[in-house]
Subunit: 756 residues, 2 copies
């Protein structure tokens, strides 16, 4: 329950609670849907607008869920039952619904046309001397979103006098990608195991699935991919589809479609076809029949997400077919039902000596225009892999004839897992507002994503979920902000990350203005702090191997060169950085000339991207007048100082936050300070061993030796699939994951060496 | 919080709640410590006895926790704050404490001598014209247990007039064994992952650890082994000890000692010694130093639990040393601090052709008298492995000169995992009341365990925990009963499982007498139902390989013979059963003559053990007059019928139970009926394929073919260390530290083969 247990869970129940004026502990389960009792002044202020809820018997499930949510939320905040009524409308009634289902709304002739399928209108109206608020959409889904927005207005204590709000999502498919495995683990998950209790599904349907759906719908999510992109064939077995169907029955109540990640070789691996060649007629028939079965049990099925011919996953390339041929075969299978295929562009080869940052563009650019109309290409925000800072991916703007969606990672694989406070809103805003210049100035990534730049109607945005079965859903209270901000940006990619942060703080902690202002300051500085203490000045992928927790800039011996941090920083006695200009990999050539020119010019490029594009001498002088070496040390020190500052700022917010959540955040920040220093010290110890430069005056030497930092190991770090270990034993040559390959290679080399 | 969030969590806060008369949904988090508001009549009835709580400033942490619990519980039930006071005592005051810390208790001269270290006294007393209740112990721990008992009395609506209750635990160490792995999984865990958030410890100390400690202390648990008996060397690294220390700081508040499972070869595997030989001086010194460090950070450390030279775990046998030599070395290390070593007797060899049921006795009997005084031998309840029914282990009574504890499995590895309703109280009662006849009639297992039979003062009982991070702790509501009953039986091994069930029902659901009576009927029939639909008439170990879920009587090809169900049932065209009489393995010779004679005589032995001890013709006639074959079919049918009956009975209890828990149990029972039938059908299909007998008249043929049952697979069943999956996939005979060795061998052989 998002609502505490002692408060009404069922429509007709209401419980009044008298609280002493003290902040009671919360465990975070309620997320931003807390609906706590307001103070008496606020109740009095709102009571003329909030008396009862006018519903219609012709509502179907989505609008019923909306009515129930509205009753629950308003009753909780007002401290008295706000009932659902059918007739009559009076002063203070809130009328909800659609023109089709609500006669009151039908008669009001509201300007709903521009709202589209999912937009809503919240407006105070007067008719027959009665003043009331109406929450309307063209569809029940629009009405549901309107209800959540209305609740948010009250939660944030906004005035309802003459309220007139309307909003329509700018992106059609707003998706969460769960990297949840069938064994219960979550790849890159730091908030416990999967939310889905696979073993007990479909019989046991946890109330938590409803609470999850409520929270996701409240920020406009309308699609959930329930399983990992590193998919198993089993997910398409009848037993597993029935489990997914039970989840989808819950999601559907909240206007959320269900999607599956599928393994390209599924029919072959299940031994039901002799190949997985996408042009083979048996394979085509198999997928068509499978899709038909899926839609029988999951009527609101949305389609497939596919990671193919990537990091060892099977794909069309295994049969000499292109990504387009592979994607289109699946797209044909789901087209009759309105389904889509989201085809991931996260592709790079272990054989290609080319700069990894260039490979996806090279591979897909040539296929532009060849994809079926219900295929969307899902592109990570940057050309490498979810680093604390990356320039935008050149495929944004690079595929004008193909719908392109953006994939961002809400879970913090490379930004400190659960405990580091890193608000990702500014990072996403940074990429969304980046100007590709593909059609001249103003060709922002947002305009690629929302379809307006190239007039695509199929638009999507995907976020890799940070949700698990931890009580607080996301592994820390501030990680909830990333989930919230993702939903808000998916609805409106042009929104400001600071204003989203402030809204989240009001809903989650307190509406007090000085609290909101100061806590938002912490959030807004947090990602820059992480970038500084991990990978300043355009450095990237310095993380330790496999789990990606903590520093590993010294790693240079992994079998695939592009898995080595050393591949990315290229540090030696002379300098550091990845030359991606014309003198180097020329990755900048994949961008529009205006962008390329900026990236190419070491004097013009934003120095936060400096070493992403340039290999420079340690003595190179930055705009500050300091040398590159001194600036790197300074940036690491800035990162550590920021972590300390965030902690100090949090301490001043004690009076606004309940003890349990306050202490939890406090402990997280303590970890962050310690680990920021660890990152700083380990990286400086390593880079100094390469640069042989003295530390700038005043900089502390690393606390330990480089050897000590190198010796730190986390055998049991979360987020790595334990299940993959077993693969190597069965070890088909097809199915490889990095770890498996690594372990296998490592053992193989060892044994070959011994045999010699 | 065991208490709902909206109710006071902090000492001085109280929240009054007005509820409509309806049963509100509960998620099970509160276990049996629900402290829900009583009806007005009850409040009025109790108010003369419950006004305030008299505490002392000299209380240390345990008694402070007790006072806080008492205030929380009574305030919740009474609907008004029951404050802690220091002076004065008046009518309705509840005085708590010990003679040392409470001057009131000191002056009362209560008969506390017989209570020992952990007992308590609850008594209404009158002094100076004031009548009040006193809850006292000789130690704070005793006081804490008294407080929980007092709360239970009120929760169960018992009269407090002239209350006079005292109790002392009959077993000294009452332990939960967590088979929790360092990677977060739980071996044989069916309630989610480990409760310990290892990654975030020691920085983040979840409030859930406190709630867990409260619940465990409330049933008298005073020791927790935090990690799996299949232990990793890492647990003894400083980083991990600091994590455990953070847990132990919480446990200590509730009088709970912390224990560790250790891997015998730890110093060698950590490369800190050259051997793990228990007689090697470096090894001895290493353990002494390690123990010293542990006690520095975990002052209430209890000692080690060791699985050695068993199922591939390293142990003294690797160095030609006996179990006693291995155990004594560790015992010497912990002795200076009062620590103990719990040495597991679950030992059987892959090379020994002897009946597995005999091996542990043979191995340990010879060592009786050789163990150090702070070693206790931990023996599973039966000679095989936690089956739905086993005769008692012959080591009970077989080791008169050695303290022997019993290990039972609270988690239902072989009894349907989380969802099957199987109340284990009667099973444990069955073994505890079994008469070993070692010192004549009345030499029950209980008297071995409580030390009275052989006058041992070191006594212990161990339960393999069924707790995980599922919201309801145990994976189902009725599994909570097993945790509760285990605690109660650990406190008093002579208690009645039915009366424990009734208490649990009153605390957990409702005090209504007809509810309690009917629900207890369900519980009391449940284990027999499971035994019937899985392994009737003394059959055992018919479960599928590895995960042990569902039927696998046909399995006969595993590398170790004693891992095959066929090893145990020995079914062929002539008959079925394991001959453990003199004509067979003669395992009965390990029991006292009186017992042996009963087991040996096919006409005398309880037929529920028939095929455990006897191999009989399919045509053998049972006491019922029916043939063995017909009786087996009948027993399976009885099991299925019982499952249905349990479900029907539960339906009649709708009005007593809140919707969320009612529906959850309902769904569990639906699963149980379906899977009881699956067990029945699959086993009958298989045994019929062997016996070639026609089904008795009226018996339904199995729904599917034997081949279909054999094809059922659960690749992602919970409770297997994901890592162990490979054991089967390679299933070599080595099975050692199992995984690594196997994987290595598998790969090595593969590569060597390729090189050829």
């Amino acid at each position: 329950m998002l609502f505490t247990k002692s408060i009404a869970l069922y429509v007709t129940v209401f419980t009044s609670i008298v609280l002493l004026p003290m902040v009671l502990s919360e465990d975070g389960y309620d997320l931003w849907l807390r609906y706590r009792l307001m103070d008496t002044d606020s109740i009095n202020r709102y009571s003329p607008y909030i008396r009862d809820i006018h519903i219609s018997l012709s509502f179907t499930f989505v609008m019923r869920a909306a009515a129930s949510e509205l009753q629950r939320g308003l009753s909780g905040m007002m401290g008295s039952d706000i009932p659902q009524i059918q007739e009559p409308v009076s002063n203070g009634t809130i009328v909800i619904g659609t023109p089709t289902t609500s006669s009151v709304i039908r008669q009001l002739s509201l300007p709903l046309d521009s709202l589209g399928n999912e937009g809503y209108l919240i407006r105070q109206v007067s008719a027959d001397d009665i003043t009331f608020i109406v929450i309307a959409g063209n569809t029940e889904q629009g009405g549901l979103y309107g209800v959540f927005q209305f609740l948010k207005e009250v939660q944030m204590r906004k005035s309802l006098e003459n309220v007139n709000i309307s909003s329509t999502p700018k992106v059609k498919l707003r998706l969460l990608n769960h990297w949840d495995n069938l064994d219960g683990t979550v790849e890159r998950g730091y908030a416990g195991n999967t939310l889905w209790d696979w073993w007990k599904l479909p019989d046991i349907v946890s109330p938590r699935y409803t609470d999850y759906s409520r929270a996701m719908a409240s920020v406009g999510i309308n699609g959930i991919v329930v399983n990992n992109v590193n998919a198993k064939p089993d997910i398409l077995k009848a037993m597993w589809i029935s489990k997914v169907a039970a989840l989808s029955d819950v999601f559907r109540q909240y206007g959320i479609q269900t999607y599956l990640s599928v393994r390209f070789s599924t029919p072959y691996e299940l031994k039901e076809t002799k190949t997985a060649d996408p042009l083979d007629s048996d394979v085509i028939a198999w997928w068509s029949a499978k899709v038909q079965k899926i839609y029988t049990t999951i009527p609101n099925f949305g389609g497939f997400l596919v990671k193919a011919s990537s990091e060892g996953q099977p794909g069309p390339a295994d049969y000499g077919r292109s990504h387009a041929e592979g994607a289109n075969m699946l797209a044909n299978a789901v087209r009759p039902y309105g389904g889509v295929v989201m085809w991931r562009a996260f592709v790079y080869s272990q054989d290609d000596p080319e700069d990894r940052a260039k490979q996806a563009y090279t591979e897909f650019k040539a296929l532009d225009g060849q994809f079926a109309e219900n295929v969307i290409l899902q592109v990570k925000n940057g050309p490498i892999d979810f680093q604390p800072r990356e320039p935008f991916h050149p495929l944004f703007g690079g595929m004008p004839n193909t719908p392109v969606s953006i994939e961002v990672q809400i879970t913090k694989e490379y930004l400190g897992f659960a405990t580091h406070l890193a608000y990702l809103g500014p990072m996403w805003e940074e990429v969304l507002t980046s100007d590709t210049f593909i059609k001249g100035s103003g060709s922002t990534v947002s305009r690629v994503i929302d379809g307006s730049l190239f007039q695509h109607s199929l638009t999507a945005i995907a976020g890799v979920s940070n949700v698990g079965n931890d009580r607080d859903w996301t592994g820390s209270h501030f990680n909830q902000a990333n989930l919230y901000a993702y939903g808000r940006l998916a609805w409106d990619p042009y929104a400001s990350s600071r204003s989203i942060a402030e809204d989240w703080l009001r809903l989650t902690f307190s509406t007090d203005t000085s609290f909101v202002s100061k806590a938002a300051d912490i959030m807004m500085m947090s990602r820059e702090a992480v970038a500084n203490y991990m990978t300043p000045l355009g450095l990237h992928h310095l993380m330790a191997t496999g789990h990606h927790y903590g520093p590993g800039p010294w790693v240079d011996n992994l079998s695939r060169p592009e898995w080595n941090p050393a591949y990315y920083h290229n540090a030696d006695g002379n300098g550091i950085g990845f030359d991606r200009t014309q003198t180097g990999s020329n990755a900048i050539s994949q961008y529009a000339p205006e962008v390329s020119a900026v990236f190419a010019d070491v004097n013009v490029v934003d120095e936060r991207y400096l070493l992403w594009f340039h290999h420079l001498s340690w003595d190179y002088t930055l705009k500050s007048g300091n040398s590159l070496w001194d600036s790197i040390v300074q940036a690491y020190d800035d990162g550590v100082a920021s972590a300390k500052e965030m902690s100090d700022m949090w301490q001043t917010l004690l009076i606004y936050v309940d003890p349990e959540r306050f202490q939890n955040v406090e402990a997280d920040l303590r970890i962050q300070i310690r680990e920021a220093k660890w990152w700083r010290d380990a990286c400086i110890a390593y880079f100094q061993s390469v640069s042989n430069k003295p530390l700038p005056a005043g900089a502390d030497p690393p606390e330990k030796t480089l050897a000590e930092y190198r010796a730190i190991q986390f055998i049991y770090a979360p987020g790595i699939n334990t299940i993959t270990i077993e693969v190597e034993c069965v070890s088909s040559s097809v199915e490889m994951k990095p770890y498996v390959v690594l372990i296998t290679l490592c053992l193989a080399l060892n044994i070959i060496w011994r045999l010699k």
